[in-house]
Symmetry: C2
Subunit: 356 residues, 2 copies
DNA sequence: TTGTAGGCGTTATCAG
DNA sequence: CTGATAACGCCTACAA
């Protein structure tokens, strides 16, 4: 009866005082330092005492307070993950890659969705710094106006917390490692593939202006055309295609004009969908009336009709490598900064016709 | 010259001593308490002094140490977000919804990908508790063997940190709020739609056995069939379809048999793709040879041929609501636990034929 | 091997 | 309005 009441009490008590190292020490009539040592696997505690301590900790439902620990040790076992826009399917595989590397090392990560917003990025970086993250993975957003948060990223580095850019970089920050795609070469592959199949009238739909990757892809397109001796038609370059409606309308007007391209290159998964939907709506046949080269491979790109020929980037690897670099910089085992550039891969499916 | 050197020194110093409230106090020859008050917008500081303090903080590049703050106040402005498997596109919209609610309130979140792994979930919950999160959003995983982490979730609640389950729940934890879909009614809608279109031979492909939502969907299917007087054929119920290869093979054998269903219901986006790919591979026409009702609407479901009729759940709302409930429980402004159940919506497209 | 004491950076309680 | 002082929970020399 009595016991029952006690149990009840314990379960019902709205907020129990949390047990601390001190409580365990008192319980066992020993000093807190021994408890600390035992519980953090430090040497200098006799096996028997250690066992007693571990048992008591278990019994008293002890959970370490990492705020206190961090205050003392300056380590939080936490990193920040800044993502440009979390609705981009890119981040599923990316985060999965990151997690794969961080979990075994006991690191947690705080996800910061900045939604391509410079101000929000600023706030999140501050929060991360206050929080005491040991590192930051970021795909920074660079505004069309050229403003960006490089000052804050510098501040982080100055405070000795490593930053690793992935997918995107900020120019001029040489002391920050990065893991990116060779975007120019990626587009070159697409253009080359189109040329090899007889296409000479090439259009491209570019996502938000000012974004590093998009600008690179634009440059890649121009370079590739020059290199391969393909005439560039400015009307076929659709820029700043951020809003689905408007992008679709722009594309439609291009495809309706007398001089129209016979192939379109996309620059991300969002645009793949916009392009395919638009072409469908217009009643054009893919690839009969128009060839399409997508970008960013989603598993469903294979299921649409026709299966979409796509430029694929190794997203999960980007995550794994970025996280690995960050950890080694946290460990201090890496001197120079790394600038890793990965290659894209062209998945040939059925959305490009052979014009011979 | 001198100044220049100083600046250089400052920028180059590998690790600067971080400035604290004390430093600011010394700089201004005042007490740390005033600085603290000024910097946390507490009353009791003259406007003039306050301004001085804020300026000095800015000048000295002061960044608050939230470990110290948390140690004192027991507030971390951080919550944990436990996801069953981050590769599920569900989480894109979900996290977006959560972020929308948390950001304006100054809350950060730690993402924990448990990959349907009971043990990993356990470890992550412990980490979150140690970290001092103020709340936990979780889609817990319940093993096929019936084991789960309800003990740890109880422990969290006992420590007064609110847990909100979303998408999935753990039975028996009545003191934990939840936001889920009315899974049975969702499937009922699909079955009803098929019946209305003349289908009587219904199959279903179920994802991992033991997962709450999947079990509910299974029950929903059985209930709906009984209610609508549709004969249930056990051979047409494909269970534990976790691996794409194997699921595809199972489905293929069902579709090849003499007695085969004329419609298949899916139970998540992953399976939508598996089913469509399989049917395509077999050369069957959708919906001519087989009707399909998908589950979990991905934007590309509209682009495949034919556009997939799909049961859509309001994912972003689930995220928003779950986060809102959690915050109000953190604030302590909510007494009873909420059990929110949202309805699915059937998006009629072209993958269901009319058999009349 | 064990214990003692001081401090990590902040906030909160009291006095002045 | 401002300042001293004592925690918060843990770690870590240093001493015993």
């Amino acid at each position: 009866m009595k016991m029952n009441a006690n149990v009840c009490e314990r379960l019902r008590s709205p907020v129990m005082k949390k047990t601390t190292i001190k409580d365990i020490a008192n319980e066992l009539n020993i000093s807190p330092s021994s408890v600390s040592r035992a519980l953090s696997d430090e040497p200098g505690v006799s096996p028997s005492l250690r066992k007693e301590i571990v048992d008591a900790a278990e019994r008293l439902n002890y959970i370490p307070n990492s705020s206190a620990k961090s205050l003392k040790t300056r380590k939080t076992q936490t990193v920040g993950l800044i993502v440009s826009d979390i609705r981009n399917p890119f981040f599923l595989d990316f985060m999965s890659g990151v997690e794969t590397v961080l979990f075994p090392r006991g690191y947690k990560f705080i996800v910061c969705d900045i939604g391509e917003d410079f101000e929000k990025e600023r706030i999140y970086i501050k929060w991360l710094l206050e929080h005491g993250v040991e590192g930051i993975l970021s795909s920074p957003c660079g505004g069309e106006d050229g403003r960006n948060n490089s000052r804050l990223y510098r501040e982080a580095v100055r405070r000795n917390i490593p930053v690793v850019f992935y997918d995107r970089i900020l120019e001029g920050l040489d002391r920050i490692s990065s893991v990116t795609l060779d975007n120019r070469q990626a587009i070159l592959q697409g253009v080359l593939h189109l040329k090899e199949n007889g296409h000479r009238k090439l259009g491209i739909v570019l996502h938000k202006k000012g974004i590093y990757t998009i600008e690179e892809r634009r440059m890649g397109f121009l370079e590739a055309c020059k290199m391969l001796d393909i005439e560039i038609n400015a009307d076929w370059i659709i820029e700043n295609a951020v809003d689905a409606e408007r992008a679709s309308l722009s594309l439609e007007s291009v495809l309706k004009s007398d001089r129209r391209p016979d192939a379109i290159i996309s620059t991300n998964q969002f645009l793949n969908e916009v392009i395919v939907a638009t072409v469908r709506r217009m009643g054009l046949k893919i690839p009969g009336d128009l060839s399409i080269v997508g970008f960013d491979d989603h598993s469903m790109n294979e299921l649409i009709e026709p299966p979409l020929t796509t430029i694929r980037q190794p997203v999960k690897d980007i995550g794994r490598i970025a996280a690995t670099i960050m950890l080694s910089e946290i460990d201090g085992t890496r001197g120079d900064k790394s600038k890793v550039v990965l290659k894209a891969e062209l998945l040939q499916r059925k959305s490009v016709s052979k014009l011979m």
